[in-house]
Assembly symmetry: D2
């Protein structure tokens, strides 16, 4: 299934030719088996200023291309992604180890966002505003902002770029894409689809409109620190965000940070337990627990726990772990050894912090994949919400906490530094409404009767607190990619002052 | 006019009793004559945690008070400001030296924003969103955020607090107000009006809902660095913003920065010259050039210059400079000696950088007010846009630059690091529209046929680039004071995944 | 309590002097005791053209008064209503028989809408729109529409005028108010408050900005048919709407129709029965069942019926019926004899259509108030939803229908020609969500766990189907009071055509 | 070019097979040469109830299909239109005589609106609304409305259907399309593309989702009068609207009326005369003056008239009139003999009303096309705006009126009963702004420096006064295709009433 010839053909079809894949310094391995997939040429640090200058120059032209025409480019990209869906999805699976369905689903997000952005291309609405002065009118317009740097993580190596780039391009902004060094091939495959769209779009697209930078921290830092990049969109760890945020702020840039989550589900006595069970399964073990929105904490009413947990353990038992492209596999590998060690560390801490491992945590399939890291998804019961629980461990480790009183559940829920996603399972409308109210979940996303992961692109995606506070994707997230200008137009022959002031 | 008895009575009426005004360590002087107005007790640094904790506790209750009820508090504040307008306006004049009209106008802004916020109290609208999944719906709600720190500058010692606090309170956020150490009395007078409103509002307002902190940098820093203050709204210099921004970002807080401007007017051959003249006058010398939106650069077509400049010089000649509360005065004092020296420095640099002083810059009325700093508003003609011109000097110094070609005017206009306000004077619709287009002014505010200063509260106020990038006042600026939550509600008995993914 | 001297003084305070109250042809009686309150002078039919011409002339000036200035007038009106709340509320009680709380609540709605409209006065937002053509921009603006006729019904003789007039005035439209001939005094009292506000507002208000027309059908028809009245807002019966709608349409006018409702509550097995009980009580018997949103149909799950109905009957037993201004009264009189007869007719039909009267329906207090009509609120159990049930009877008659299956409840609910308000009582989130979904209630208002009446002014008020389809009050209902203009501005020197067409 | 074989193949490609084209009772002729194109089978009047019932049944299912899924259908339709653009465009030309560019442009509008509607499918946003009561929240949702009847005119036989149907389908509404009896083939060709999309979309589309009705007035009336059609969208004459409006209103339906226009251009002394000239040409003679937005009145400043008119006459001289599919043709035929006679009638009246024919009006090419009606576009100079001028004549007849003063121009402009589109040519910003202000043009569309026709789909299309008052296409026109529901959700255990009322 990972046959070298097949892979070679796959990469070719995705526009990643042999010359690009060999001879470079960035070694890319498959999470599936640890096999080397490519040695990519890195963008030299020294050429970063040129890259940025090219984007800057492209901006001068792109901002004057009418937005609905820019929308046409994104429409073509959507078409290319639709055509390339099977291939790009497979590259994702091969590189980061997602199961086939998830690889395809990620490309579908790209298709969806392109169509959403196409619609946006005629809807970048500001407001017309009545003035307090006769013969005056006001309005606000949203104008293109400038080059946008898109720095992504390994776990959504395709969709997060698409989310940002589709919106940025429609908003009139050139893009510079820096994919994770752990998943550059998925990034490249997605980027090539955009390049094909640009080729079809013709010379209305200025040179330098979309660029990809292959590299590591240094290249990312060049983007973060450049005064010519008014917006940096970065997805990754809270640690990364704690560094990027201030650096961008120091040069008066804008940022979109999508950082860590510590996503919980509250299961109340009024929950549909079977639905909760299925939702837990998908959101805790899907993508091997490596979604930013993966379920990490299960806050369950004590009366329900004894019903739910055994069922959950049974379901965990039957989970098929293995090669992500094999039929029936639900859990693929972790991204790399570091991820495995981080998980091991957390598992080791569980008991030290008073908890108890209920299942999983250990490595499996080491014989078949000695250089890859498959683990059995883990559940740990914790008597209280310790420091370990309050920290994000990026893997399939679910903490179970019991509660007695609904207020207590909400308090437990909010008492972590992250604020990305959350959910409640309950058919009681009061519990549900309370959970999504001002004094309920403090997360950017709060769901009822669905898990914390798997957001639709129509809503605003992102979180509060240490998750970063910013939003991507739908709703009015596009406004971050533009600059707003408030205009007051005086067409009278008088010069009245606001607030009734007279002068002179 | 600054009679001690009158002043004492004035301060009493504004709720600043003698015991508060004496015996403290913060010496407050009148910009008018340098006379000591008060010695205020500073909030001890050590008690800042308590202040913040009080706000935090107030938040727990205030967020559950329905927004339209919160609106009622702001309505009462508006009433109190309306009643106290003459007195508070006078305190502003006495303390920072604004002419009477401007002092009153500033309080009027407070009245206006309270009424605007009252309307908002039923309009904190999120979106309902259609879901791609059957039996699901989505929505986004805006919920209260938490305590907001409001750190203001001397030049709008009342209005900027009102702008922020009226919106914050309606949004469900307690406020902590740190007025400029150069203008705490104006701040206190405005704050007392809020306290009177709170008293009338009764026990629906939790203790600690609105607090004022008297002090200097240390107190401000305590607010900037506290993880319990999710939003810091700070007005001041770019230098200040360069420090505040990263510090707030480092703790994943939000900020609203309103920093320096370098606001220009383009006067084209199609301008109504007399209107331009009046607009220049108000916006360059009003508030002695100490508005963040003061006109600092005049970019005038060479063909117009010889008509406009002589008229402008004549108008400058006849400007009445003096005690700001005397009938007919148009230009009051600078805020303090430091401001005077900064201006002198700039004037001195003009010639060194190839320019020529056309008028003004020197101190006047030194005999009458030996401890205050009145200057004659200055105009300097510059052959090119030098480093001096690109820097904000906070006083009545206007640079004149000539242009030949409209594109050149736009380029000159945008070639400064700040991005607050801007305007064009022209009756040619193509010039006007070009100026407010995507490739026109890069400022947050771009006006036609009115000056750069004196925005209405209905629009979003703020600027791009080193001005900070954030917005206050009208339009949807309120969203910054709330947290957004995206909700997906599943009321079906199925658990479909987004993007058509199937799992298990 | 209805002492003549007191009343005289009350009317005087409300601006309805003796000369206005006597000598006319429109006899006004108190619903409380049938006593004559006034003989008002009617606006002669022949002078209607003048009235309309005056409004037309006022429009020419009012539309150019900036909207925030227009907002100031509405602010003053709100102040006047606040000051006059007790008096106007009492006039309402005296004239139409509302209990004191309801009279006051109605005036409060006027206060609320004035504050809402004040906020709107800076928020009459259209959109700025990106163009598909270079050098073009688009926007839409909302401009004043013209004179608005407001024709109201007896049951909200004050608030409905305020709802419409506050919005209309802020939108730039003069108003002509035609109150119900059954409740002109309440209308006049409310209108006088507006006149006092106009007087304070001064000459910024053109003559003819707000006019009241006292009369009957003929005067209303003059407004309905005039091509100079672009908007007719009419509240009343479906029969009236069936006439007004086509007549306004025939002259290409706009209308806002608020017609009959047949509002239901579904009580499911998951309801909080005690809350449901209280909600039924208020919404079925409040205002003696004469609200357009009064509860008329109770669709209750068969399993709950036997618990709920006995409690309901007990509650009905203890209802205090009587003089509406006496302490403790919950049910006042019907508006007049015709209303009483309509109710009697319905009661008589109940058995003929297979139903059973469970309580009430008969006249009470006939001795004390021989010329007024007090009835005991009625409940009828109906085996099926007959023609009688599907018809609106405007009084305190509640039909009880049982259901077995939730789908059946929804079907029953929607199977009436009216579509105003509706509600469900259930703590089951699936039932609640289903009820407010696309395949749930087909009404303009669909609530959960509150009754169908008592809407807040922040939402859009109105209904579907024979209720008229239009909206008043909050959300974007204001757009109906303005005309929209879509603008395309070409500031380039080219003339490209849309859709890529080339010509010549 | 109209070779029978070619035509047959063209119709086949468009899905209009021979059996459909022959044997029916509706004779369709080509406007190009009057040749018979088809004899279509009409939908029997008696089967209209079935048609409507089918739509009703489809609605029950379609409304529960998630909107983004409905968007997928519209995406597919856009693809089909894109693929069929050349063919459908040609059918339009053949049937109604549009020049090739215009036929293609019309199909492009369909493509554009499908893409816009696709974006909308995730943006059918209502508002979440804060409540004045604790433990309550409000929101408004937009839900599918029901079957929509789309009755179109001959002049946009494809695009108007697409505008309405793309939005209606995304909004959850089945459509019944009744094309003009003068242009059913263009309608059919467009409809077939939708059918192909539905086939690809598969069984998610219920039977009866989109239906076409071939016929005349009787079939249209069945739709207009049916209580099962909540929305009738009808394009045509004011006469038609005057009938349809009241009939729909009488049954409490909604309507979108797009009726006559009497569109004017004001040319001021500050206009770019050459641009104005080109704009006049396209908008007055394009589509042989048979657009609803065609330019009909030229209001030109007396000082400009003597420059502009001679140039205009020269341009009219050189217009190539002829077979619309021949290279270089700019003016094709009128739709039929009736149109020709109406034009002749108007031409005859010109002198009677004091005007003077400057050019055109006569029939040409009668030899080549004896059964078709080609005319030379006409210009008439009128001293005043007579009854003739105030009436819409649907053909290439342009009235010229001179003005001296700008106010006079605006008055002339607005002094017609219609209110569709309008424009000004001027580079003076004051004139432009005044024209689009509250006291400027009273039309639904008011442009600057582009002609009145050729709107982009992103804005709201439609007009005021006798044009009907409704809107189609962009902005928030979609709201007319949905029903709004205001929801108040009480999740507390209390039952507070609005407006602070207490009861019992």
């Amino acid at each position: 299934m990972n046959d070298a010839n097949d892979l070679s053909a796959l990469f070719e079809r995705c526009g990643i030719g042999a010359s690009r894949r060999t001879g470079g310094t960035l070694v890319v391995r498959s999470a599936i088996d640890g096999a080397e997939l490519a040695r990519l040429h890195e963008t030299p640090e020294a050429s970063m200023p040129e890259v940025i200058a090219r984007a800057r120059a492209a901006f001068q032209r792109w901002r004057d291309v009418p937005a609905p025409v820019r929308g046409e480019l994104v429409r073509l990209w959507g078409e290319e992604l639709r055509k390339g869906k099977a291939d790009i999805g497979r590259v994702i699976s091969v590189e980061v180890g997602k199961i086939a369905q998830e690889g395809l689903g990620e490309v579908q997000e790209g298709v969806d966002i392109c169509e959403f952005a196409l619609g946006l291309s005629r809807q970048l609405h500001g407001k017309t505003i009545v003035s307090e002065r006769p013969g005056h009118r006001m309005m606000e317009q949203y104008h293109p902002l400038g080059p946008v740097a898109i720095i992504t993580a390994f776990n959504f190596p395709s969709a997060v770029f698409a989310w940002n780039a589709a919106i940025a391009l429609v908003c009139g902004d050139p893009v510079i894409f820096k994919p994770s060094e752990k998943a550059p091939l998925s990034g490249l495959a997605t980027f090539r689809a955009l390049e094909r769209a640009i080729a079809r779009f013709g010379d209305r697209a200025p040179e330098g409109l979309a660029q990809i930078v292959v590299g590591r921290a240094a290249q990312a830092e060049a983007l973060v620190d450049s005064p010519d990049i008014p917006l940096v969109s970065a997805t990754g760890s809270t640690r990364m965000g704690r560094e990027v945020g201030p650096r961008v702020a120091a040069r008066f840039g804008r940022r979109i940070l999508e950082l860590g989550g510590n996503n919980a589900m509250i299961v109340t006595p009024n929950a549909d337990i079977d639905m909760a069970l299925r939702a837990i399964l998908f959101s805790a073990v899907g993508t091997a627990g490596q979604r930013c929105t993966s379920l990490r904490r299960l806050i369950v009413h004590r009366s329900v726990k004894d019903v739910l947990i055994p069922k959950l353990l049974a379901a965990y038992e039957s989970l098929r772990i293995g090669h992500p492209l094999e039929e029936g596999t639900l859990v693929g590998p972790l991204i790399d050894e570091a991820a495995f060690h981080a998980l091991q560390l957390a598992v080791a801490e569980v008991e030290a912090q008073g908890g108890r491992m209920l299942t999983g945590g250990g490595r499996v399939l080491a014989d078949r994949f000695p250089k890859a890291f498959y683990v059995r998804p883990a559940i740990a019961e914790m008597p209280v919400q310790t420091g370990l629980v309050r920290r994000e461990t990026f893997g399939p480790l679910l903490y179970v906490l019991a509660y007695d009183d609904f207020e207590e559940a909400i308090e437990l829920h909010n008492d972590v530094p992250q604020g990305l996603s959350s959910c409640i399972f309950s058919n009681d409308m009061r519990e549900v409404e309370r959970f999504i109210s001002a004094s309920g979940s403090d997360c950017g996303m709060a769901n009822a009767n669905i898990g914390p992961s798997g957001a639709e692109i129509g809503g605003a995606f992102g979180g509060e607190k240490e998750t970063g506070g910013d939003r991507e994707s739908g709703s009015d997230a596009w406004k971050q990619y533009m600059r707003r200008t408030s205009n007051t137009i005086n067409y009278s022959t008088e010069l009245p002052l606001a607030q009734g002031i007279t002068f002179g």
